[in-house]
Symmetry: C2
Subunit: 259 residues, 2 copies
DNA sequence: GACGAGCGACTGGTCCAACCAGTTGACCAT
DNA sequence: ATGGTCAACTGGTTGGACCAGTCGCTCGTC
C-alpha cells in the first residue's frame, strides 16, 4: 500500500464538517436554533473563533442564518443552498447516496449535451482543432488514465461552449466526482468505453453540427447514468430497476409514481 | 416610496465583498499571493479575526487557497469555483454583465426544460394536481405579482422533478435573479407574457406527456433569453444582434466565430 | 564553487479574555 | 391593553499572545 500525504485539517474545518453533517442529515431541523457559539466552542473543545469561522462557511453555503443578538437558525438547504452543496450530500450513513449520484449524473448529462451543442456553434477555429485532436487522441489517452482523458476532453468542450454558468456547474459536478473518486471512476468508465462516440462527438463539433454533437453527447453521458443503477442497487431498488437495459436513446427519465 | 428594512453588514462581510471583487475582476491574478492577514487587517482597518472569517468564505467559494506557513494564493475561479459564484459575477464595472446574464438564462432554460420533462414522468398524483392548479391560476396570480407567480409555478415543477441537483442549481439561479431584481424582473416578464404556455405546460405535465412539456418549457424559457439581448445591448453587440427576432423554437445558440 | 544543514523571519492556526451591539422576554407603570 | 425599562443572553469585534508550519538566506563543509 503506497503512502499518501497526510491530510492536515484545521479545527474550523472539522467543526464545519460536523455541523454541516448535522444540518444535511436533518439532525437539526430547519427553523431550529443551533446552540450558542460559546456552547458549541465548549462542546467541540475549541476556541470560539474556530466555531465562528465554521459558522461563516455554513452561512456562505446557505445552511444557516446568523443574526446578531438572535439565535443562529438552520435553513432548509433544499430551498436555500446552491449547487456547491451537492458534493456534501453524497455521503450518507450507509455509504454514498444513490439518489444524489443519480441526480448529479442526470445534471451532468443535460449540461454535457447542451455544452456539446453550444461548442459546435460557438467554437472558433483553434478550439475546433483542439477538440478534434482530443477526440483523435482519446483512445490513447484513455489507456494512460481514463479519468484524465475525459477530464481534458470535456474541459475543451466546456471552454468552447463559452458559457460561464455551465463552466461553474461543471466544476461543481467535478467536485462530486473527486469526493468519491474510486466509485465514480468505475461508474464513469462506462462512458469511456464508447471510444468511437468521443471521436464522433469531436468531429461533429469540429464540423459545426450541433444536433449531431448533442445526440452523441447524450448517448455517451447516458452510459454512466445507467451504470450507477448497477453499481448502487442500494437505497432505491424500484428506481434502479426501471433504469434498465435498453434506454431510449433520446431520453430515459426514471418513472416514479406514474400511472 | 415604501420603507424597507435596513441592512446591517458585519465587517467580515464587507472585507469578503472587497476581496471577492478583487479576485473575480482579476485585479489580483490567479497564482498571485494575497497580502498577509496581518497586513490586510491593517489595510481594512479591522481586526485580524474579521479578515480570517472573510478568507474562510473565500476559501469555501473556491476563490483562494490558504496554506499554513505559506501565502494565501488566488485561484482561477473559472476552474475552481462552483455555480454558487454566479450571482457575484454579474456585477461588473459598467453595470450588470450581459454575458453572465445570458449564461445564466441559458442554463435556466436547459434546466427548466429537463425539469419539465422529469416532472411529467415522475410527478405523483398530488403533485400533478398541484401543478395543474398552478397552471390554471397562473393568469390571476400573475396580475398580483408576476415574480411570485412563476416562482411558485416553477417551484412545484422542480419539486416534482425529484432531482436534488436541479433543485440546488435552481436555487443558485434564483440568487442571480434576486441580486438584480429590478432588471431581471423586466427580462423575465417576457416569459410571463406566454400565459397560455404556462397552462399548456401544466397540462402536459399532468398528462404525463414529457416531450410536449419539454417543448413548451423551451418556448417559454427562450423568451427571457431573447429579451436579455434587447435590455442589454451593452458589452457584446455582435452576440446580441444574432439573438434576433425569430429564434429557432427548438434551439438558438448564439453563434460566435463560426465559419 | 556546489551542496546541504541550520537558523531566523515570516505566514497562517489557535487560543484567551474582554467588551460592544443587538435581541428577547419578563416585569412594571401607565 | 399599551408601551417603556431592564437584565440576561446572543452574536460581533477587538487586542494580544503563542503555536506551527514554510521559505529563504547564511554559513560551513566538501
Amino acid at each position: 500500500m503506497p503512502f499518501v500525504p497526510v491530510r492536515r485539517q484545521p479545527v474550523s474545518a472539522a467543526v464545519f464538517a460536523q455541523l454541516r453533517a448535522a444540518v444535511v442529515t436533518g439532525e437539526v431541523a430547519p427553523g431550529e436554533a443551533l446552540p450558542p457559539e460559546r456552547t458549541l466552542a465548549e462542546t467541540f473543545g475549541v476556541n470560539r473563533h474556530a466555531v465562528r469561522e465554521a459558522l461563516k462557511r455554513l452561512e456562505q453555503a446557505g445552511l444557516v442564518e446568523v443574526a446578531q443578538g438572535g439565535a443562529t437558525r438552520v435553513l432548509d438547504f433544499r430551498r436555500s443552498a446552491g449547487l456547491d452543496l451537492l458534493p456534501h450530500l453524497v455521503d450518507g450513513p450507509d455509504g454514498p447516496e444513490a439518489e444524489v449520484l443519480r441526480s448529479g449524473l442526470e445534471m451532468r448529462r443535460v449540461i454535457g449535451v447542451e455544452v456539446a451543442r453550444l461548442a459546435a456553434v460557438r467554437a472558433d477555429e483553434s478550439a475546433r482543432e483542439r477538440i478534434l485532436a482530443a477526440g483523435r487522441g482519446y483512445r490513447a489517452e484513455r489507456l494512460r488514465s481514463g479519468r484524465e482523458a475525459d477530464r481534458g476532453f470535456w474541459a475543451d468542450l466546456v471552454d468552447a461552449a463559452d458559457n460561464i454558468a455551465f463552466r461553474l456547474a461543471y466544476n461543481s459536478l467535478l467536485q462530486v466526482i473527486d469526493a468519491h473518486a474510486a466509485l465514480m471512476d468505475e461508474v464513469l468508465d462506462e462512458d469511456r468505453t464508447d471510444v468511437a462516440g468521443h471521436l464522433e462527438l469531436a468531429e461533429s463539433v469540429a464540423r459545426g453540427d450541433a444536433e449531431s454533437a448533442a445526440a452523441v453527447a447524450h448517448r455517451i453521458l447516458t452510459a454512466a447514468l445507467v451504470a450507477v443503477g448497477r453499481f448502487m442497487p442500494a437505497t432505491a431498488p424500484a428506481t434502479a430497476t426501471s433504469l434498465g437495459d435498453e434506454p431510449d436513446p433520446t431520453h430515459d427519465p426514471t418513472p416514479r409514481g406514474a400511472p
